[in-house]
């Protein structure tokens, strides 16, 4: 159906919402990337099949039904966040969360929960500290401390259905925005204090306003979905899980700045995001939410998807624009900002996926509401991808200003195997590593920058004491070395040399004085590179140097890796006093380098040892030591 007035849209939404309210039990199967990889689609199919077999009236689309009907409804949603224990099945209205669901267990869910109304205890999340099973999702610590705005619909509604988005109140903010003047819309966004979620942290409202002020006969709106940071998948989840919200944010932006054409730049490595966004665009066009005279108004706006070829540098706004134009994706100096001279040299607003996803809620609830959340300089919430040596890996959203400790130990559940916390890397490869002393830091744009890291797009990699910071810096520099576009000398050659020096340190080939050389070059790349990515490329080196200098010194002066990671300068040994002779390490060793008998001291044959660290990982007595 094509909506020609906001009233028609409101009527349809009301009808869908009333249908939605009749649903007796709603089965939400997470089909985010993590759960999908673990077999969530098979789980969904098994569920539907089992319901069919049991002659249950299980619907997979919101369809009108008789007044007294109490239909069951199952759908695939976007990422529900708790990737660590997927595939997830969330059952509403009881708020039951089933974890690690398999197709076989899906049949049990139909039988016991849907038919008999029973909760299956063994599928519930088990609190690792207390051992207690938690039935309600909202009582699981992982979810307890979260506030969702950008991820509001992700994991809660059918990812592919416009009807589901409408039933949840979607596009009502657009209808509201159509009653406002462009300046009033921008005013709301300015008042909200929303800052760009892609890394730069530039004030979104101000950006929109400068675009309006810039001279040009045409304006563009671009959504940056070229998320390329290792360990970050927020934007991927939003595009896959709630594509309509992103589109709505862009349409509202187009209305505010007077753009007729928009682009979503998505990396081609996100095929599901591309296909779901395309389906959403098609559905919006058919419904009169994109195209000419949107909802019968004067607004003409259409969106096209531009697929990226996987270059990290194309996440940089000016390189991204060159890429959309069909040129080589290389950044340019932004002495004239892209809001004034962007795509095809026309005024352009470029915001990140998460930024656009925040816009509908800001228009709906007003800017003031958004500003109340978060901190003085960083309003609202922020989505993060919690990965690394943390118990609860997953996608989270917390209010800005939440202490790092609450994120890592509260939502994240602490460090795997209760090992000591060592560092958390924020902001992707261009970000920095924060140490234990920063744990009480409020997570917001300014605090992270002041501590020598950055918010970036929201990747958060947690590290324990078995992580070598020189190796971490080396890893990120390797990534940047391969991803530098190669246009300017400091970035292309500088990163190569920084990486070569770190490589030498890891091999025990560092010399006294190298640290000063490393630091000087890192600083020069920081000031001398052409674009933002080049300027921030030395951050992994500079932040680890600042917080873990002694580790660098150990590598250079003593030729030792304190964390026991850099293989060339590490020897694995078994501590005779701690070894209980449990034989776990013998089983774990891939090269059969460990010998010993039950309850007798084990020994590592250094000739065979490849220093992979598998023994240390399995030892429960901390008996495997490194020197």
């Amino acid at each position: 159906m094509r909506f020609t007035t906001p009233t028609e849209l409101a009527d349809k939404s009301a009808t869908l919402a009333s249908t939605d309210r009749k649903i007796k039990k709603r089965v939400l199967v997470c089909s985010g990337t993590g759960c999908a990889a673990l077999g969530a689609f098979e789980v969904f199919d098994a569920l539907v099949e089992a319901a069919d077999g049991a002659k249950l009236d299980l619907q997979i689309e919101l369809a009108p039904c008789a007044d007294h009907a109490e239909p069951l409804y199952a759908t695939k949603t976007g990422c529900q966040g708790f990737c660590q224990v997927g595939p997830l099945v969330h059952i509403q209205p009881d708020d039951i969360l089933y974890t690690k669901v398999t197709p076989k267990k899906a049949r049990e869910i139909v039988e016991q929960t849907l038919q008999q109304g029973k909760v299956i205890d063994k599928l519930l999340y088990k609190n690792p500290e207390t051992g207690e099973r938690i039935a309600e999702r909202s009582k699981i610590p992982f979810y307890q401390n979260q506030t969702t705005i950008a991820l509001e619909g992700c994991g809660r509604v059918a990812a592919e259905s416009l009807d589901a988005y409408l039933a949840a109140g979607g596009f009502a903010p657009l209808a509201k925005a159509l009653t406002l003047t462009p300046e009033a819309i921008i005013g709301e966004v300015v008042e909200s204090g929303l800052r760009g979620r892609g890394g730069g942290g530039f004030a979104t409202g101000r950006k929109w306003r400068s675009c309006v002020a810039a001279e040009g006969d045409e304006r563009f709106v671009i959504c940056n979905g070229d998320e390329g940071d290792p360990g970050a998948f927020m934007d991927c989840c939003i595009m896959e899980g709630d594509p309509y919200r992103v589109l709505e944010g862009m349409i509202i932006c187009a209305l505010a700045v007077g753009a007729k054409r928009g682009f979503i730049y998505v990396r081609n490595e996100y095929p599901r995001a591309v296909s779901r966004l395309q389906a959403a665009i098609d559905a919006c066009r058919a419904a009169g939410l994109l195209g000419d005279n949107i909802l019968g108004s004067d607004l003409d706006f259409d969106i096209r998807i531009s697929r990226g070829g996987g270059a990290f540098v194309c996440g940089e706004s000016s390189a991204l624009m060159r890429s959309i134009e069909g040129n080589v994706g290389e950044p340019r100096a932004k002495y004239v900002r892209s809001v004034a001279k962007g795509l095809y040299d026309k005024p352009t607003v470029l915001n990140n996926v998460e930024t656009f996803a925040c816009v509908p809620a800001i228009i709906r609830e007003r800017g003031k509401w958004f500003r109340q959340l978060g901190t003085e300089g960083s309003a609202g919430t922020k989505a993060f991808c919690l990965v690394g040596k943390v118990v609860n890996t997953g996608l989270i959203e917390v209010p800005m200003g939440t202490p790092l400790r609450d994120v890592v130990f509260g939502v994240g559940g602490g460090i795997i195997n209760d090992r000591p916390f060592k560092a958390v890397q924020t902001g992707g490869p261009s970000g920095g590593c924060l140490s234990e002393e920063h744990l009480d830091l409020p997570v917001d744009f300014d605090a992270l920058t002041a501590a020598g890291s950055m918010m970036g797009s929201g990747g958060m990699i947690v590290m324990d004491d078995h992580t070598c910071m020189v190796d971490v810096a080396r890893y990120f520099l390797k990534f940047l070395l391969e991803e530098s576009c190669g246009k300017c000398v400091p970035c292309r050659e500088g990163i190569f040399q920084l990486h070569a020096m770190l490589d030498a340190f890891a091999k025990g080939e560092g010399k006294t004085g190298d640290l000063a050389k490393l630091e000087r070059l890192a600083e020069d790349v920081q000031v001398g590179a052409l674009c933002g990515l080049g300027k921030s490329a030395p951050n992994p080196v500079l932040s680890t140097l600042r917080n873990f200098r002694d580790e660098y010194e150990a590598h250079i002066e003593r030729k030792k890796c304190p964390a026991g990671v850099c293989q060339a300068i590490t020897t694995f040994l078994i501590d005779a006093e701690k070894c209980t002779g449990c034989m776990l390490c013998i089983k774990a060793c891939p090269t059969e380098a460990i010998t010993g008998q039950k309850k007798k001291l084990h020994a590592i044959n250094q000739e065979l040892c490849t220093k992979c660290g598998a023994c240390r990982l399995v030892c429960k007595d901390d008996a495997v030591v490194t020197t």
Binding site: V313, R332, D524
Partner: protein, 250 residues
């Protein structure tokens, strides 16, 4: 008209001009490698980095590339501040490590006093990725070569490293290359460049190579020139003309 300060001297500048343009017009030396007045600036070599500030900047300064930064009223530029010299040196040190065999780079580095030695590349390449060849080729309308790959693997090449199909053998790329990296071999009859061999048109007076046939055809097709434009070389044209004038004055 705006006024800016470069190294404590006042200069007038037109709106839209870059710092480099104003400096060069007034004989202030700012070294460059990737700049050419006929081509659009790219800011790749970073050698022209200068330090800027403004009266209301509260003492904060910024390093920017002079070839790209458009002047604004009251801009204060330092071309030889401590930060500028340090970065310039680092850029040259890095390029020295990249192409130690390039005399241009070696001379520049020596001139600026090379200080830090980095791990040297040994592939013998002299390319510093200044994009001059790529930009010149594009400006001539051929687009036969472009920058391919990323990071230190970045290089100038024809599409897919195959022979450059739209190349007309004009040789501009090799002429404009500051380090002599682009190989071009001319004989009396042919020119070899980018894995392609081009036949020369020879001057009908002296018989010297004049222009490649492909370039002649391309130029005649794309520019308004008489059909016999490329038959006599410029030296012979000159002597023909001077002879003509000499006869006239008799």
């Amino acid at each position: 008209m705006t006024q800016i300060l470069i190294d404590n001297r006042k200069f007038n500048a037109e709106e839209g001009e870059t710092i480099l343009e104003v400096a060069r017009r007034n004989q202030i030396d700012i070294p460059t490698l990737c700049h050419h007045e006929a081509l659009e600036a790219v800011g790749a070599c970073r050698l022209c980095t200068v330090e800027i500030t403004g009266e209301d900047w509260n003492g904060s300064t910024k390093l920017v590339s002079a070839c790209l930064y458009p002047v604004e009223e009251g801009l204060i530029v330092q071309t030889r501040s401590e930060g500028v010299l340090r970065l310039r040196q680092t850029v040259l040190d890095l390029l020295m490590a990249r192409c130690p065999e390039s005399t241009v780079i070696r001379d520049l580095a020596t001139q600026h006093g090379q200080v830090t030695e980095y791990q040297q590349f040994t592939d013998g390449s002299k390319c510093i990725m200044c994009y001059l060849c790529v930009r010149a080729c594009a400006k001539l309308g051929c687009h036969a070569i472009s920058a391919v790959n990323r990071g230190t693997l970045k290089e100038v090449a024809p599409p897919f490293h195959e022979h450059a199909e739209s190349c007309v053998g004009c040789g501009t790329c090799a002429t404009i290359c500051p380090t002599g990296h682009i190989e071009m071999v001319d004989t009396a009859e042919t020119r070899t460049i980018w894995k392609r061999e081009f036949e020369f048109v020879t001057c009908k007076v002296c018989g010297e190579p004049l222009i490649t046939k492909a370039y002649r055809d391309y130029a005649l097709e794309n520019r308004r020139l008489p059909n016999d434009y490329y038959t006599v070389c410029s030296a012979c044209k000159k002597s023909e003309l001077s002879g003509h004038f000499a006869r006239l004055s008799l």
